[in-house]
Amino acid sequence: MLSTNNSKKFFLGESDLPKQWYNILPDLPRPLPPIIDPATKAPGPGIVPRIFPKEILAQEFSQERRVDIPEEVREAYQLWRPTPLIRAVRLEKALKTPAKIYYKYEGVSPPGSHKPNTAIPQAYYNMKEGAKRLATETGAGQWGSALAFGCMMFGLDCTVYMVKASYDQKPYRRVLMELWDAEVHASPSTKTKAGREIRKRHPNSPGSLGIAISEAVEDALTHDEANYAIGSVFNHVLMHQTVIGLETKKQLESMDEYPDVIFGCIGGGSSFSGLFFPFYRDKVSGKAPKQTRFIAIEPTACPSITKGGYAYDHGDTARLTPLVKMYTLGHDFIPPPIHAGGLRYHGKAPILGVLASEKMIETVAYNQIEVFEAAKLFAQTEGIVPAPEPAHAIKAVIDEALRCKETGREETILFLLCGHGYFDMQAYDDYLHGKLKPYAYPAKEVQESMKKLRELYPWLANLTY
């Protein structure tokens, strides 16, 4: 450890790379509501066992608190991990705040985000169990490029269904995926029944993550050599991401620091979960030196927790996936065209559903104009251009630091900078030229989606989970 208290960046050696992930399931305040198979109207995993390898399935439902990280996965992680923890000294000065602001930076990975933390192990377990190809969906391309990278590491083919709006507007992440040898289709595509049906009904459909998931799942279900991989929401994905928080804890320990508050953006919820779960473990095991608050930030354009319902819903538009209890805007949600592509999913991880409904985490929402204002201040003080997704967290951090200025509280603030914004320059260009709109998703739309869901599955009202 080279760090001192005057340091700007806190590095760990490669030997400090965690050897185990942290699984939060045994530490939840109440058990996770079971997956419901709509065919039987009873608990059951539906198609899930047919699209994942056995080890991933075991992890999805595991009650083991610590799960070993395979040596081959740690070796692949070493390409960029451990990632730095950085103190935002210049941002603190610009805000004149007594608070200390630290951020864990995941943008140093080859795909430029936290996503390979789970792409690598998912590709690894699939390779071990004989899969030849993985199919997946991607919005703006963060997850698709991470899985392309992961598949390349372990010699698997990779097929990515990319939401058409992003495929057309953001060609460069597609090029990145192709450079890493993946096959990329604009979704809805003609490759799947789900895609063809949507194209028939809506010839100009811009696509959505829900549609792309339907296509990737169908691809995996209809091809023996292929499995499916998902970039967020599922328990095993959140667990893989805990390498982030486990490293961060070590880095903060090295300077005798502990966060008063932890911020992160949520799309499906995996990056924020990866950061705060290890600190949550401290809290529930009575080891935390502070009553740390965990605050998730979502866009007002996709406000699953702040405006959505906590209900059983499908993960995809074509309703191939089973029902899971989560905060949702409805599986037919078509996201407004905001630039934070990674935050445009209708549902949030079921684990976060339990934690939010039990008031173990707080949630706030911001519109994209205030988010880009915060991103600009960050770029102008710290130099790193953040992706629009973590810029949501930056907005919340700045607000908190300004509250500290008023109250004089010397809080230690921690947030996750889950990716850089080099692929989002068009969004910054639009922001700098005043072309962004402060979109807020109407509560009425959510109520209608929830009503449709109740009409679709009236028997859901009888479930007590």
Partner: protein
Amino acid sequence: MHPGISAEELVRQEDSEHYLRIAISEAIEDTLANENTRYCLGSVLNHVLMHQTVVGLEAKKQFEMLDAYPDLAIGCIGGGSNFAGFSFPFMMDKLQGKKNTEFIACESKAVPHTTRGVYTYDFGDTAETTPLAKMLTLGHKYACPPIHAGGLRYHGMAPLISYLINKKYMRSVAYTQSEIFEAAEILARTEGLIPAPETAHAIKCAIDEALACKKTGEAKVIAFNSSGHGLLDLSAYEMFLAGKLKEFEPAKIEVPKYVK
């Protein structure tokens, strides 16, 4: 490939707004005309090369931690600052007779300032506002073709690098666009990193040297400077993957001599 086309003809094929040396003239004129403005240069000059030595000084310490020392130090050269920064702390050992590392500077065949240029006094800009500096140059009117490695499109080379190449402390090699993107693709598919097209020149050289070691069985330590990522250059990669890259290699280069 443009066989038989002279530099002058290449100039005519391209919009004159594409040249760095014209932009330099503009920036200098702006500075001279405005009292509160100063000029900054991103490469070529001695102080810029010196600032970049943090790169090599860190690398040297890191090699010490590994108990290793590079047999080969490789970098791409546009104005020369990244390679100078990376290699000079090792060059110090060579100049003091302590080590015999081989230094290889990599450039584009479209802008072959050190492999085909002349070691002479030349201007740094088109409008001839800068003083004359002795360097390896293609002439300050040279029409740098529109290759994707924008950072390598400058007619001259840092006087310090030019001196070292002229005195044979360093050697230089030149590559085509296709060669360097093929090398970049190998790096992307093995190490995961997407290099900038400039950096890809150094990667091409490192790969060639590693393959030469495969033949001879020598276990050389090869160090190259990965000077930048290519995430803002993916349109160039898109053209490469689509087989649409063009090659530019002037058949004839005539460098006017200003001072003998």
